[in-house]
């Protein structure tokens, strides 16, 4: 059976989004499957136009730190999040959106990038993915 990486994307922070997608895409590049479960602040990043709107997890300094890190990333030629999601989907990655978060935060299906989301679910969906996974992370 193909090995799998499952990640809970709880944080919506910009830097952590990069971590999640780099690990997921790296996993698939190494022949594994990847599944991302977006919940709480992470779900905001699946809103239309919200993908790269997250703050920096540390030293955000009202967006100043974030801007500096973005400039450094551009200089280091780091791929854009939009491209990473495109690669993620092309390599067959699966995105699950947490229904409870949608309820709590008043997010409607039409607010979300439905072209990215494969499934809406709850903890059972996550556990069902994670129990068959070789790598599980909470970001």
């Amino acid at each position: 059976m193909t090995q799998k990486t499952t990640i809970v994307v709880h944080s919506g922070d910009m830097d952590k989004m990069f971590s999640a997608f780099i690990i997921a895409n790296g996993s698939m590049a190494m022949g594994m499957e990847a599944s991302l479960y977006f919940t709480f602040w992470g779900l905001n990043r699946l809103k239309k136009g919200g993908l790269d709107k997250g703050p920096l997890s540390k030293m955000n300094m009202l967006g100043l730190g974030r801007r500096m890190v973005r400039q450094r990333m551009e200089k280091a030629n780091v791929a854009k999040l939009e491209q990473m999601v495109k690669d993620f989907k092309e390599l067959g990655g699966k995105i699950i959106a947490c229904e409870m978060t949608m309820e709590i935060m008043g997010i409607k299906k039409e607010d979300l990038r439905l072209d990215w989301i494969d499934e809406f679910g709850a903890v059972g969906t996550y556990v069902n993915e994670a129990r068959r996974s070789d790598i599980t992370l909470f970001i």
Partner: protein, 76 residues
């Protein structure tokens, strides 16, 4: 059988690895993928991926600041 050329020069983590995977998906069995890049870790990680994907590593060589890796798709 054909050769696919990938230019990943200047690209950072995880792009060279991902581009190789995408190219392997699209290639036909027997095709050769030649990737050129500058990202240091990818030089050792692409062969790891080739091994994990059970494909054939033909060559890893240096060309000044660049590396060139040749891979043959042997498995569908």
């Amino acid at each position: 059988m054909s050769q696919v050329n990938l230019d990943c020069r200047g690209q950072n983590c995880p792009v060279p690895l991902v581009e190789v995977r995408k190219a392997l998906k699209k290639a036909a069995v027997g095709d050769v993928i030649e990737v050129v890049g500058t990202h240091p870790s990818s030089k050792k990680e692409i062969p790891m991926a080739v091994d994990a994907l059970e494909q054939q590593l033909l060559e890893v060589k240096d060309n000044g600041p660049e590396w060139i890796i040749r891979i043959k798709k042997v498995k569908g």
